[in-house]
């Protein structure tokens, strides 16, 4: 293994899990997340010579990952989830409650469009600014704002308990 390949191997082994965490939120499924990250890492491998600096690699891989999601935007949406279909027992200190909350959030995220899911992950998981999210997704800042607002509205509608997560008081 030459030095460049070793650098790439080190990069993959160091950053795969971080990429998988984002990919899991984007896809809601372990296998789909692995496929998404695999594709991003493969494209990064193809571009490794051009990247020149290893520190650019993760940004490149994340961009590929999100753009792969962009291509999914044109596909039919996942099955509609209506309000009330998702169990929304208030979460307490019980570990079981936390599990319920996690499942509810996962299902609610899957009910969003891929674009809405991407902006939520970028804004509230990766802590990007609206401008950074817009640049990464190749859309305007106003679109990011619109999609974020719609996504939050939808999350609140799908899982009333999620209102607490997004700052809105339950009525």
């Amino acid at each position: 293994m030459d030095a460049r390949e070793a650098d790439y191997a080190n990069f993959v082994r160091a950053r795969t899990h971080a990429l998988l965490r984002s990919a899991y939120l984007l896809t809601g499924d372990q296998h789909l997340a692995e496929d998404l990250v695999q594709e991003a890492l493969a494209r990064t491998h193809r571009a490794w010579l051009r990247l020149e600096r290893p520190e650019y690699a993760e940004a490149y891989a994340r961009k590929v990952m999100y753009h792969a999601q962009v291509s999914l935007w044109r596909r039919p949406k996942v099955a509609e989830v209506l309000p009330g279909e998702i169990e929304s027992e208030p979460a307490g200190d019980d570990p079981a409650d936390a599990t319920v909350e996690r499942l509810a959030l996962r299902r609610a995220l899957l009910a969003l469009t891929a674009k809405q899911r991407a902006v939520i992950v970028l804004r509230y998981f990766e802590d990007h600014t609206e401008a950074e999210a817009a640049q990464l997704l190749g859309i305007s800042v106003s679109t990011v704002k619109t999609q974020t607002a719609r996504a939050l509205d939808r999350l609140r509608a799908l899982v009333p308990d999620l209102r607490a997560l997004t700052g809105e008081q339950q009525k």
């Binding site: 993959v12 899990h17 509230y124």
Partner: protein, 394 residues
């Protein structure tokens, strides 16, 4: 307010199981490479046929007239631009473009190319490569380096460039912006201020082929600066929304990018979109290719060098170094008959195409005449390996 959402997302992300994807990613990368190589071989074979048949030719006719699009679309502010007659020539797509377009049914980034056995250079000596080749370091504040193969060697012409730079067509003047001031430096001389209120985010300084004008970004809009008088003339109409303008070698056309990373050509008073690139319809742009930053244009505006990007990206996302040649009439990526991966491409004002390719540890410079003949093919000095190709000039 949204802290709990953040916390819940982190908690949900913890659900994912660790996985070692190294082998899978490398395997997938190799599959992609094999697929591209298969298609690339076909494209290269088609290129061989085209080269052998002499179809890879460009119109040799030139005019020194400036782009008519500029005259018709510009609105003088500080002083009227000198009257110019409309250009008499029209953009004629190079025959190679249509031919290669039909041959290359699909376009791919970083497509491996196979050297045609029929293309042997007139010279394999670097000293026979005319003109100057400019490079810059990757990253912020790069040094700008000039290689003058004809005896000048390698020298740093602008250390720690504060902005993207524009190299004059003769390779002797470098323009850049610092603190909003547009500065030009003659070889070794002190910087001279030409204008203020200039930025380079969407428009690095771009010299006209005669060296008399610079296309710059002034007040967040593109404008033409008369170097002699300092007069700034903003572009108007559709051109006002363009970015990364580049002049054709004969000055009759401007190629520029839109904010959606498609390309347009302004020539003969009209504004024409380059097909395919930036098109978000998979049926029309199956590979999702886009071009946000044209870097040089051939003699007539028929071909342009670009760093290929993907739809959805912006100019800020992509590299500044061109790695492909695109036919402006068809939007097709032109197959380049060189070995290895193309890591740089640039036209000089005469329409000669310099291709920088890398195979293993060896970087090769190949210079093609406007008619497609391979003039010089030589190994690049190893000390330039870590730099990016910036421009090729007379």
């Amino acid at each position: 307010m949204t802290d709990r959402l953040r916390e819940a997302l982190r908690d949900l992300a913890d659900s994912v199981e660790p996985a070692d994807l190294y082998d899978r990613a490398v395997h997938r990368s190799r599959r992609i490479a094999r697929r591209e190589a298969t298609i690339g071989t076909g494209v290269a074979l088609a290129a061989i046929v085209l080269l052998a048949s002499g179809l890879w030719r460009l119109p040799e006719g030139k005019t020194k007239e400036p782009p008519y699009a500029l005259r018709s679309a510009a609105t003088a502010t500080t002083a009227p631009a000198s009257p110019r007659p409309p250009a008499t020539t029209h953009r004629v797509p190079a025959p190679t473009h249509r031919a290669s377009a039909s041959a290359a049914a699909k376009r791919h980034k970083n497509q491996p190319q196979v050297a045609p056995t029929t293309a042997s250079p007139r010279s394999r000596s670097l000293a026979d490569l005319p003109g100057h080749i400019f490079y810059q370091q990757a990253g912020a504040d790069p040094d700008v380096v000039r290689l003058s193969p004809g005896g000048g060697g390698v020298e740093t012409v602008l250390p720690k460039a504060p902005s993207p730079v524009g190299i004059s067509p003769d390779g002797h003047i470098i323009a850049y912006a610092e603190g909003g001031a547009l500065l030009v430096e003659h070889a070794g001389g002190p910087p001279e201020q030409l204008a203020t209120g200039v930025s380079t985010d969407d428009q690095p300084p771009a010299w006209s082929p005669d060296g008399d004008r610079l296309l710059v970004e002034s007040g967040s809009a593109p404008a033409v600066l008369e170097v002699g008088s300092g007069t700034l003339t903003p572009l108007a109409g559709p051109l006002a929304d363009g970015q990364h303008f580049r002049w054709s070698g004969d000055g009759s056309a401007l190629v520029y990018a839109t904010s959606f990373c498609s390309l347009k050509v302004a020539a003969g008073g009209s504004d024409t979109s380059v097909p395919v690139l930036g098109d978000r319809q998979p049926a029309d742009n199956p590979d999702g290719l886009a071009a946000c930053k044209p870097t040089s244009v051939d003699a007539t505006g028929g071909r342009v060098t670009v760093p290929l990007q993907s739809t959805g990206e912006t100019g800020a996302d992509g590299p500044d170094t061109a790695d492909a040649v695109v036919d402006t009439a068809t939007g097709q990526v032109v197959a380049l008959p060189v070995t290895g991966s193309v890591v740089g491409t640039s036209f000089d004002p005469a329409g000669r195409l310099l291709v920088r390719s890398r195979h293993g540890d060896v970087t090769t410079l190949s210079l093609f005449a406007p008619d497609g003949k391979l003039l010089v093919q030589a190994t690049e000095p190893a000390r330039l390996r870590g730099l990016d190709l910036l421009a090729y000039t007379r």
